[in-house]
């Protein structure tokens, strides 16, 4: 991928900074081959299921289950895909999932960074109590509130509707913790002080100073939230009772349960469901491989 260009005060962590190398450069070159060997075994293990799912999705179920099995991609992909389309509303589910993930992410970034900025840089009455409460409830497992959340959704009339997925997801304390931690160290107080002297209020400081400086932290929170929303399964399984309104995950699971005998078709569906998130990840990944050494690999 492209060499990352990072805004913000990144110099600190960059290994490419003229900090001295850990190991004396005289170390034997031979020894440096071993890690690559080990790492490639791991890479193969990590990527093999993807390859195998492509093999399954492009062959027929019968090919896969023959002895010896087919180990190379076949020519039945379109047939398997059209079988998926015949059984579930794939694009409807895709659109639902995308809308929920995008809206959730946008709102989480906004709300959490606002709250986090307040906690990171401002002293106000109740700050400690509120943050302690956040910490305490963060420790509680999610399913503790599953039943009441369902009953609340019932009262709101949101059962079977997409806002039932978005709104509870906004109340995730993780983002506030993360952004508070990030902003308290990366947003320089001097700049804030200066901007206040210029007459900037809280929201302008947030928008003009905190948000630009904390962009890498926000990028992480964005992908974390997006992936979590995209892949959420338990909650949609419970609240999305309307068969016309499903997400990719619940549709996929239905494909498996109702038509589980056609593995090739199920795999084609699974593959199609992960491609968008993979593309999104690869697209955003430049934020994550962001350190100096990344530049070494073109």
């Amino acid at each position: 991928m492209a060499a990352p260009t990072l805004p913000g005060p990144e110099a600190a962590a960059g290994a490419a900074a003229p900090a001295p190398k850990r190991r004396p450069s005289g170390a034997a070159r031979r020894r440096s081959l071993l890690p690559h060997l080990v790492l490639w075994v791991g890479v193969l293990a990590a990527l093999f299921p993807f390859y195998w799912s492509v093999v399954m999705a492009t062959n027929t179920t019968r090919d896969i289950f023959s002895t010896p099995p087919k180990l190379v991609p076949g020519t039945h992909l379109l047939e398997n895909i059209s079988n998926v389309f015949a059984r579930i509303d794939f694009f409807g589910a895709l659109a639902n999932t995308a809308v929920v993930a995008v809206v959730t992410t946008a709102l989480v970034l906004t709300l959490d960074s606002l709250a986090a900025f307040a906690f990171a840089k401002f002293e106000f009455p109740g700050r400690r109590v509120l943050f302690g409460l956040l910490l305490l409830l963060f420790m509680l497992p999610a399913q503790l509130s599953l039943i009441p959340q369902f009953l609340i959704m019932r009262e709101l009339g949101w059962i079977g509707q997409l806002q039932a997925l978005v709104v509870p997801a906004l109340a995730n304390a993780f983002g506030v913790f993360w952004m508070r931690q990030y902003m308290s160290t990366s947003v320089p107080d001097e700049v804030l002080d200066a901007s206040r002297l210029d007459g900037c209020g809280f929201f302008r400081q947030w928008w003009h100073v905190a948000v630009p400086t904390a962009r890498p932290g926000l990028a992480f929170l964005a992908i974390y939230t997006f992936v979590a929303s995209w892949n959420d399964y338990v909650w949609p399984l419970i609240v999305l009772v309307n068969p016309q309104v499903q997400t990719l995950q619940t549709s996929l699971a239905q494909l498996n349960v109702s038509f589980g005998t056609d593995y090739s078709m199920v795999m084609a569906g699974a593959l199609m469901a992960i491609i968008p998130i993979m593309v999104a990840f690869l697209f955003l990944s430049r934020w994550f491989v962001a350190d100096g050494t990344a530049g070494a690999v073109k």
Partner: protein, 334 residues
């Protein structure tokens, strides 16, 4: 990933700190220097939307859940139709052989799915840290399993481990070994679930470790090298001790998440034939605590008992998280 990010100070330890050390290590500078008091109205305004949602969807549900666990809740009757039953749900819970089985299953999946995974992640991180080429490629490749949906991945693994014609058993047969009934033997089922967890989370944890390793200043290694420590010694005596906060953080997070495993067994073994009312696979070998909770709450519609199970799950998770911290502290004393 994240954590390699720019401001070195917000490194991997930072996430750990937010869970554990919190305010202790970092003084927050009130942004009111020079005596001019910042107006607090906008500050409260900024935290209000989050806390409003947090109150409605986290605080209220937790309190409500505690109330529910003392009720026999009538699904159609609603709150008015429910009946206070005291500790009866909890009495049932402690006698419930199925819940005990679910606890044991969850613990076994935790042991099988956490410790080998974290050890492998450390090795991977050390390896990536030691190379200069392909660094970002490795990061991406190892991280990729983590962004794929659990449902899709579970479907892949279900096909891989399928009993007679799955690739794993075919490979075993090719080696002249007999196949393993991966999806019906209670032990093999747990191994499959643990393998899935390992595959999906190993790279994620490796990247957290890597970030931690990169935050260790080079001078420390130089000093160790001057003392005559080779790379292996350096790993044991420098890297590992300095990584302790990150290791503790990943162990706690992995403990919390694996003890609450749900999707893998639900997709692999959730629904059975019409005749067999079991879930969690044959012999309920992969019935986890959260899967049992789900069954009781949303299949049997026993909300009161479901709430009691949720509290039970919380208690079990809490015990093991505390054990994690205790172990970490014992290490400190040495």
């Amino acid at each position: 990933m994240t954590l390699t990010a720019p401001s070195g100070a917000a490194g991997p330890g930072a996430a750990a700190a937010s869970a554990g050390r919190g305010r202790k290590n970092r003084l927050i500078r009130p942004a009111r220097t020079g005596g001019s008091q910042q107006r607090l109205g906008p500050v409260y305004l900024a935290i209000t939307p989050f806390f409003a949602l947090f109150g409605v969807f986290v605080l209220v549900p937790v309190v409500f859940s505690i109330w529910l666990s003392f009720q026999k809740y009538s699904v159609l009757g609603g709150i008015g139709g429910s009946e206070f039953v005291g500790l009866r749900n909890f009495e049932f819970l402690v006698q419930d052989a199925t819940f005990r089985r679910a606890i044991v299953n969850s613990l076994l999946i935790w042991v099988l799915g956490t410790f080998p995974m974290l050890a492998m992640a450390l090795v991977v991180a050390a390896m990536i840290n030691s190379v200069t080429k392909l660094k970002s490629f490795y990061r991406l490749a190892y991280f990729l399993p983590n962004v794929t949906s659990i449902v899709a991945v579970t479907l892949f693994f279900g096909a891989l481990f399928s009993e007679q014609f799955g690739l794993i058993n075919q490979a075993l047969a090719g080696l002249g070994l007999s196949g393993v009934p991966w999806l019906t033997d209670p032990w093999a089922m747990k191994v499959v679930v643990a393998t899935l967890i390992t595959w999906q989370w190993c790279g994620y944890n490796a990247i957290l470790y890597l970030a931690g390793m990169q935050a260790i200043p080079g001078e420390v290694y130089e000093a160790a090298a001057l003392d005559g420590a080779g790379p292996v010694r350096q790993f044991w005596s420098v890297t590992l001790p300095l990584l302790r906060p990150v290791i503790l953080f990943t162990t706690v997070i992995s403990t919390i998440t694996t003890l609450q495993t749900f999707t893998e067994p639900q997709v692999l073994f959730g629904s059975n034939t019409a005749v067999n009312p079991n879930s969690g696979g044959p012999g309920q070998g992969a019935l986890t605590m959260v899967l049992y909770f789900y069954q009781q709450a949303f299949n049997n519609n026993d909300y009161g008992y479901g709430a009691a199970i949720a509290m039970g799950v919380f208690a079990v998770v809490l015990v093991f998280v505390v054990i994690n911290f205790r172990l970490a502290r014992t290490g400190d004393d040495r």
